[in-house]
Symmetry: C2
Subunit: 81 residues, 2 copies
């Protein structure tokens, strides 16, 4: 069994309204040095049954089909045994 972490972020060219809102809230709280805040998602999971060499193509597929929207989002993943 392997553990995997998928990290999904908005592409740099896409406006991040959620990030801007959180950044403004941080400024209002006095943290005026915070800039270019971007919000992303992550998924931690255990993956059973896939041979090690197929795991990364399987994760790539899962991201493209369901977890991420490749039109507006970038994704990457880390695998640990």
């Amino acid at each position: 069994m392997a553990r995997a972490r998928v990290i999904i972020t908005l592409k740099k060219t896409i406006m991040d309204a959620q990030g801007q809102t959180v950044e403004r809230a941080l400024h209002d709280l006095g943290y005026s040095g915070v800039q270019n805040l971007r919000i992303g998602k992550l998924g931690d999971m255990e993956v059973d049954g896939a041979p090690r060499e197929q795991l990364s193509s399987q994760l790539d597929e899962m991201c493209r089909k369901l977890l991420a929207n490749p039109i507006i989002e970038d994704f990457r993943f880390e695998i640990e045994e």
Copy 2:
């Protein structure tokens, strides 16, 4: 200027309904080996003006006050120059 990444995850004892839903959807797509999927959030930002040694206490404060809900969520952050 430093870059920081804040990672926020639900505490292990808290049920993750979103993670369960995504896990079920992956099973329906044929990825039956996926287990214990948990969804988290992340924030990437640039932080200006804070002396290096105050940065990590400032990020800790930002997480406690706004970014995370310490009652149900764990957080950690990484700082790179």
